[in-house]
Symmetry: C2
Subunit: 96 residues, 2 copies
């Protein structure tokens, strides 16, 4: 069923929700993050694109940096990274 | 509860799913569209931003046009518009 091909995921007690799908370019999730601090881990290389609002992120071995709408960051496979949202924001994460 | 502040919506038998939230800039939804043809109606002015994949759209009184990732289109309040997705895609819709 096509409708099952958009998978709804919820994390951190519903404070992060995402919609996952695949297209010709690969797998991606479109998600929304509520205000708060979170830590994520990667199973593949991830490209996080900020598509609404902004997000502070501390990538492995780097200082905290605020990413604005239109900006993106890359996290290598098998890494953990921290993020902090001061307001609701949306992202598109691409899995390479 | 903050987690309820990210509302999951489903349309067209789950072939369009979206996550709705508000932030300082206003209300927006991050959504994913499965392949297919759909018609939407607006209750406010909407800015549709293509954030992953692409989307064909026929805006009121205009020819069909394909909008690529990074492009956006505006639909006035109280209008109907048609879209067609040939592959899964994601958008951020801002409500003005």
């Amino acid at each position: 069923m096509v409708s099952e091909m958009i998978k709804v995921n919820e994390y951190f007690d519903g404070k992060v929700k995402s919609l996952a799908a695949n297209n010709a370019q690969g797998k991606a999730t479109a998600g929304v993050i509520a205000p708060g601090s979170y830590e994520f881990g990667t199973d593949t290389i991830e490209i996080m694109n900020i598509v609404w609002g902004e997000l502070k992120a501390q990538l492995p071995g780097q200082a905290w940096k605020t990413y604005q709408r239109g900006e993106s960051f890359r996290v290598e496979k098998g890494e953990r990274f921290k993020v902090e949202a001061t307001d609701f924001m949306a992202y598109v994460c691409e899995y390479l």
